[in-house]
Amino acid sequence: MEFDVKARDFSSAGESSSAFRKTLLMLSVPSDIVRRASIAAYEAEMNIVIHSYGGKMHFEIYSDKIVIIAEDTGPGIKDLELAMTEGYSTAPKEVIEMGFGAGMGLPNMKRNADVMDIVNHDENGTKIVMTINI
């Protein structure tokens, strides 16, 4: 499954994660796995909406694992260590007013994924690959 994610489109933000969650439920994936995968996907999708110029969410579902790939064009992550610190945020005020941008996204993705690789995070964009074992 692959979905386009638009930058700053807050009204449809989360739609791909919601569709992904419904698919996992349809496939009778255990509920705790569905919860973790949905949260990781939603945080990644919101990051694309908030921080990038747009991107894609790509989901692969296997019998033993789920792979979530979030890829965007954008400014990248300037300081990865800081970005992984809970509470550190570069989100603008309008995003914080929406209830996001509290500096919990990347740490929360890491917490919910079994493996999280930030493949690249340069000025051309960011690619994050998360694997959740079933």
């Binding site: 807050f10 989360g14 939603y42 209830g99 919990m104 929360n108």
Partner: protein, 117 residues
């Protein structure tokens, strides 16, 4: 605690999901930061918030274990929010109490939060 009891305690108005008031909630979460709700370690069956945007419903939907959202301080969610909640089978109420008081009243009446309290 049944949702009908939540409605009584908070003197709340049910905006959608009237037919589900007999359902039970075991835990509650009060937050205006959806990031905090997503970072919670335990299931929260009831979400109290002062935020009225579609991402509140989306957060509840993605978590999958929030069956009711209560908007506090008399805030009125828009049609888009109610339609999204209805299609996700999430009950929506509003109360005039502020967030702190609403949480306190439910806590005093026996509703607790999850294991990350």
């Amino acid at each position: 605690m049944k949702l009908a009891e939540v409605r009584e305690i908070l003197k709340a108005e049910v905006l959608c999901g009237h037919e589900r008031l007999s359902e039970e909630v075991n835990t509650a979460c009060g937050a205006d930061l959806m990031s905090d709700v997503l970072a919670s370690k335990d299931e929260k069956s009831l979400l109290l918030t002062g935020l009225t945007n579609v991402q509140v419903v989306r957060t509840a939907e993605v978590l999958g274990d929030i069956i009711c959202i209560v908007f506090v301080r008399g805030k009125e969610p828009g049609c888009e929010i109610l339609e999204m909640a209805d299609s996700a089978s999430i009950v929506v109420m509003k109360t005039d109490y502020p967030l702190f008081i609403a949480c306190g009243l439910l806590y005093k009446n026996g509703l607790n939060c999850g294991s990350d309290s």
